[in-house]
């Protein structure tokens, strides 16, 4: 089929904005050609997501001159100036897919279930487990309060405990949860636990819910089998959740492939980059309500969603979780905390506004740093050493995971950070996006930084599921903006101590220098590969071990090469005035903001 596809129309219905892109085959290469955007319309008075979709497509029609719509129908036979070959869409509108998961042991089957749900693009509202120390009635109350869209019930290895799993089912039966999507909606429950308990689960739940049984998510202690559950979540997302959301019934009839949850689609493209380039990747998508973090280390994919860390709807939650002091430390001008918190809160209640003044922009980017930092902390705590699908684990691995579960996110081994979402993709200067990513993720050693140019990873993610070539060509040529490389030493040192020296050849010119503790320096280096030698001082580690010199090639980019000597983690001056000077200097050195008039 793929050889016949020349024109692709893809939309992403976000919680705030619906984005449409047009991809065309030009000179045997797939390229992004036009982009349109319109407010998402799942709210009164419209309550029909297709209105926003149509408006975004109309914008593409106007810009491209291509006729795509015939009234409210997408023309799907192409000529030189009319129609598209394929129309696809992703969605996180309507609050996305909200799930509860359950397992017998929270850190074992409970976590496997959580991983399956997150991997499918869901928001996990709670993990119900036999050992979660909550009383029976507390669990029942919790289910009733949360009203999930779907429940993934797992627990027990095959041949293991039956009674504990059935007890979980009985809790669900007792709660008899009413989903948020309508009074007649039968709650879908996916059972992915001990196969010996399937009959009992069926007897317990079949009369009150829509029960679907799939193979065990954890058939043995050493194996995790996430795919059947993940696939079923995708199917049910389409059949149940989407069908209930306003206008989605219509939208599902328009698309040529099933609609995917936005985070699930972003995960697809992150996985593909890591696989094809053979690199470790951390991706982040910071939205208005939530922040998703994706990582691939040693072929293991993990996704977390920080449900209440975002830049508009949940911006005050970022303020509350991070604390005013942690937000203020990034603001390079004097502002009292009452004024600061009022401004942030006003963004929460009018989420679609944009910063007109430079001060407001700096405040939003300070908040973004904290939202990204907190989301990444959560990700590192979740991405632990449990192996992925059908991978054999040794008994020692099992015990290690039970004991603690070491994070598999190793910053020294991280090759690429990709940022996406309005605050990163639409930052007026690319240097701002690079600084936000460096300041919040604190890469160690040598790490390449990139952003999604115009926030189109979701559309490319769904495209990659049936046309990998088109998705990757557009991803590399039009989506991924390589900002440059960050080089930073590990640990913390006394201010002004010399950390490392560098020698880099840019445009046949040798540039040499040294970096001191507390210093941030930017060297402009357009996108290309550059030969560099980095020589650490005694006992300093630049990612290859203490005292180890690095000689090799690194990437430049739209911003350039950032040498970061501020330590891991960054030390801020405790004196207010001095701190403002400190962060102002970092800003000036990285060409972050225009000079204030």
């Amino acid at each position: 089929m793929s050889k016949n596809i020349n024109i692709i129309l893809a939309t992403d219905c976000g919680s705030t904005t619906t984005k449409a892109i047009l991809i065309e085959l030009i000179d045997n290469e797939y390229r992004l050609t036009f982009r349109g955007e319109a407010p998402t319309t799942v709210e009164q008075p419209f309550e029909d997501v297709t209105r926003g979709v149509l408006n975004a497509i109309i914008e593409i029609e106007e810009l491209s001159g291509r006729k795509i719509l015939d009234n409210e129908n997408i023309i799907n036979k192409t000529s030189a100036k009319e129609g598209v070959d394929v129309y696809i869409s992703t969605s996180s509108a309507g609050g996305g897919l909200q799930m509860m998961v359950s397992g017998v042991v929270k850190s074992m089957t409970g976590e496997s279930a959580q991983r399956a749900a997150l991997g499918a693009g869901a928001i996990v509202m709670d993990i119900l487990a036999s050992n979660d120390k909550r009383m029976y009635h507390e669990k029942v109350k919790r289910i009733r309060e949360l009203r999930p869209d779907m429940v993934l019930l797992s627990g027990g290895i095959d041949g293991g405990t039956v009674s504990h799993v059935v007890e979980l089912a009985e809790i669900i039966k007792t709660a008899n949860p009413k989903p948020r999507l309508g009074i007649d909606y039968r709650l879908p429950i996916i059972y992915a636990g001990n196969k010996e308990a399937q009959e009992n689960i069926n007897d317990t739940l079949k009369d009150i819910v829509d029960l679907i049984i799939v193979p065990n998510i954890r058939p043995t202690l050493e194996k995790e089998n996430l795919k059947p559950s993940r696939d079923k979540i995708h199917d049910l997302f389409m059949e149940h959740v989407m069908a209930q959301a306003p206008g989605y019934n219509k939208l599902t009839k328009w698309t040529d492939y099933p609609i995917m949850p936005t985070p699930g689609a972003v995960g697809e493209i992150i996985k593909k980059i890591a696989k094809i380039e053979k690199i470790s990747v951390v991706g982040v998508d910071i939205g208005g309500a939530t922040t998703d973090v994706f990582s691939v280390f040693n072929d293991e994919f993990n996704r977390t969603v920080s449900a209440n860390l975002g830049m508009s709807y949940s911006i005050c939650n970022v303020l509350s979780d991070a604390g005013v002091d942690n937000v203020s430390r990034w603001i390079p001008f004097k502002i009292d905390s009452i004024n600061l918190t009022n401004r942030i809160a006003n963004k929460m209640i009018r989420p679609t506004t944009i910063p007109q003044t430079l001060e407001d922009l700096k405040i939003e980017q300070a908040l973004a740093r904290e939202a990204l930092r907190l989301s990444f902390v959560q990700h590192k705590e979740f991405a632990v050493s449990l192996k992925g699908v059908q991978q054999e684990r040794t008994i020692s691995d099992t015990f290690e995971q039970k004991m603690s579960g070491q994070t598999i996110v190793n910053m020294k081994n991280l090759d690429l950070i990709v940022g996406s979402g309005g605050v990163l993709s639409h930052a007026p200067r690319r240097a701002q996006a690079m600084r936000m990513l460096i300041d919040s993720f604190l890469p160690e050693g040598i790490t390449q930084i990139a952003v999604d140019s115009i926030f189109m990873m979701p559309q490319l993610g769904i495209l990659s599921t049936f046309h990998e070539q088109a998705a990757l060509e557009v991803f590399h040529k039009d989506c991924l903006i390589k900002l440059g490389t960050c080089i930073s030493s590990l640990d913390k040192y006394k201010k002004d101590r010399k950390l490392f020296s560098y020698k880099i050849i840019i445009n046949k010119k040798i540039i040499e220098g040294e970096i001191k503790s507390g210093e941030l320096k930017l060297i402009k280096a357009p996108l290309d590969k550059y030969q560099i030698t980095i020589t650490p001082e005694k006992n300093i580690d630049i990612g290859y071990g203490k005292n180890e010199i690095f000689t090799g090639k690194i990437f430049g980019g739209e911003v350039g090469i950032v040498f970061d000597g501020r330590g891991r983690s960054i030390t801020f001056s405790e004196d207010y005035e001095e701190r403002i000077n400190q962060i102002s200097n970092w800003s000036i050195n990285s060409n972050e903001y225009p000079k204030e008039v």
Partner: protein, 373 residues
Amino acid sequence: MSKSYTPGLKILRNTKISKERLLPLRGDVHVSKDLIVNSDTIVASTEIPGNVQMINIANKLNIDAEQILDCVVVKVGDSIIKNQLIAESKGLFGMFKSEVRSPIDGKIINASKITGQIVIAEKPLPINVDAYIPGIIKDIFPKEGVIIDSIGTFVQGIIGIGGEKKGTLEILTDSPSSMINMEMINNDYKDKIIVCGTSINYDFYEKAKKIGVKGIVCGGINYNSVSKILGYSLGVAITGTEKTTTLILTEGFGEINMAQRTFDILLQNNGKKVSINGATQIRAGVLRPEIFIESKKIYENDNFKEDDLIISEGSTIRIIREPYFGQIGQIISLPYELVKMKSETMVRVAEIKFENGNIEIIPRANLEVILSN
């Protein structure tokens, strides 16, 4: 042409509003179509399941889980009282029996031979849904609730806390910029819904709450004061369940005066019975706090139209972000080209003429249409 929508809060006189009054679970509807109701009329009711208690019969009687059905002396669905015998073991030759008694009044809702447990639910909790606004029953959803139609003044706020309240409207000041002080509020305002044109502070709110004021409508309040009132920081704007004096902000956080237009419309309804709801949900399916006052006039305002949200030259708008936050002006042009702001953000803009005659360029995203008749 693609359409450029802006958010907009409604400030409408003699408008028709429809309110769905629905039960959280299926139940009984007590009114019929075309019946005229007042705001206190109970239109539907149901019961929500009570809390549950689980008793592990197998453990208590020291038997296997699969044997419990032989020992349980009550059936699923039976109502029981506290201390009633619910299970007993067979004992040895009829002697040395062990027994289990109910710890609560309730109903048996499950007995499982897999887990060996029985589950008892406490008495269901009654839920009544009132009309909230006076009006006429327009439609009935059998077992679910009703739609009530009414005509009156309808004003939306930007954010609120606290749920539905009804009371008499009392305006405290003669203009939206008149300062308020603690002395202005006394026991006379018990059960009233008061309007302060300007912003209020934490102490004022607390005094009003102590007196028994049912609701406060004002221009603004500091975010930190709201956190202090709630006892926690408001992380996402999803409110309405707080058990406190309902507070509705018409403008936003900070020391902001109420828009003149909003103040005037409330002033005209001074002393009338009003229904307010602070419930706010700023996410998909956005819900804003509201104030409704019934009027006997025939409605003059057509139902809300999508086109009302489209801005064009001549539209009256309010700025909803710094640096001109709160100011009202008129659109004099809508340039097509993107314009670079001081923040260097490239945005679609509107050229606005303020009431003082000044002209400024403002991002379209920072404008709010005033939907007013």
